[in-house]
């Protein structure tokens, strides 16, 4: 039933690392969309000239615009998805690309992260996410078990056997990183997002974001999307609305979503990120499946 799955990345990649990967035809298209959206959103396309919170969301808007350009390129090459999955803010990106929301609204959702950052700033909360490379979900959970309370720190996403995302209070993230490195992580670092994405504590601080997601216009996506929270297959606009609302404060099981896609028959995964980032932290059964990137196509 499903053979081809498109995978959309979340935030984290610097704009210049994405844009450098787009070939000339795609970079022209990117600039066309970027000029329109940056003007509409009141952002400066010279990212460094934006105010601090604006600068952050502007980088994330670049990521969404790159996704759109790559997605449309894949379609133009006759690569049509049977299903898709979005990692973290990749949910917003896939919602736009698969037609569940307009691209403008998807960008508005990303912009609303500003309100969340402002709310956290007003509450004097220092939060963040971290990435652990080389230790999987079970090892990290075991390490944290008697050392950190869930309020301080949890696993925000089980990415794969080689990558785990942690989320919570910045000081706890720092301590957790030191611990993981001592215990054999290949690398561990903070993302410096200022937000504890995918931590349940965020529900209290992202009301403007969730209200925006709840109040938007949704339609049924052009292709099904698998939930990265509970693996349900989403085919209605209502499903996509719920997924976007939950996004900021719900832990992810990306590994299980990928596994479920494999179980459903997917053998070809297409990384929609311009720089092939999803392929780097995702793991599939190499005997049956393959992940393709823009570079390879």
């Amino acid at each position: 039933m499903y053979q081809k799955a498109f995978l959309f990345n979340g935030i984290g990649t610097k704009a210049e690392h994405l844009l450098i990967k787009l070939p000339p035809a795609l970079i022209d298209k990117y600039h066309y969309y970027a000029d329109e959206e940056f003007t509409r959103l009141g952002l400066n396309s010279a990212l460094e000239k934006n105010l601090p919170f604006d600068r952050k969301v502007a980088e994330w808007i670049v990521s969404l615009l790159c996704d759109r350009v790559v997605y449309e390129y894949y379609l133009s090459q006759g690569i049509i998805p049977d299903i898709g999955a979005g990692y973290s803010s990749g949910i917003v990106s896939i919602s736009g690309c698969f037609g569940a929301v307009s691209h403008s609204f998807a960008n508005d959702i990303i912009m609303m992260n500003r309100a969340t950052m402002e709310c956290l700033s007003q509450h004097n909360l220092r939060l963040d996410v971290g990435i652990i490379i080389g230790l999987d979900y079970q090892i990290v959970n075991e390490l944290f078990k008697n050392r950190f309370s869930k309020e301080e720190l949890i696993v925000g996403s089980a990415n794969s056997i080689i990558s785990t995302m942690i989320t919570g209070k910045a000081e706890a993230i720092d301590d957790a990183i030191e611990l993981c490195l001592r215990e054999g992580a290949i690398k561990a670092y903070r993302f410096k997002t200022g937000v504890a994405y995918h931590h349940p504590m965020m529900k209290e601080y992202c009301k403007k974001y969730t209200d925006l997601c709840a109040g938007g216009e949704y339609r049924d996506p052009d292709h099904p999307i698998i939930s990265i929270f509970d693996n349900r297959i989403m085919t209605s606009g209502s499903d996509i609305r719920t997924e976007n609302i939950m996004n900021v404060y719900t832990p992810i099981r990306w590994d299980l979503a990928i596994s479920e896609l494999e179980n459903m028959g997917v053998t070809e995964f297409f990384d929609v990120s311009a720089n092939g980032a999803v392929k780097k932290f995702t793991r599939v059964n190499k005997k049956k499946c393959r992940i393709y990137t823009l570079d390879e196509l």
Partner: protein
């Protein structure tokens, strides 16, 4: 412990250089054993992990990333020579690399 022949050592070294040349999009001939993957080629940890997986598949190695991580705490990996030395030790000792 596995025996490490000169041929295997050379094959491992070539594989490392080929891998970094392709992934970092540089000319293979421009790489030397003194090249620093992170500083000179902007390679990252996920690239390194993928190389570990490739090597493991090719040489049927049973190696946990955690063992490599603990080894790297004692023996940092800065140059291609360091990378080659590490993979040779993985080939020979597997997870016991931690104690080398």
């Amino acid at each position: 412990m596995k025996e490490l022949t000169e041929q295997t050592k050379q094959n491992i070294t070539n594989m490392i250089l080929d891998y970094y040349a392709e992934e970092c999009e540089v000319d293979r001939d421009s790489l030397t054993m003194a090249t620093r993957p992170q500083e000179d080629l902007e390679s990252d940890s996920l690239m390194f992990v993928e190389m570990v997986e490739t090597m493991s598949d090719k040489y049927d190695l049973d190696i946990k990333l955690q063992s490599i991580g603990k080894y790297l705490l004692k023996t940092p990996m800065n140059t291609m020579q360091d990378v080659a030395d590490m993979f040779c030790k993985i080939y020979q000792y597997g997870n016991d690399i931690v104690n080398q």
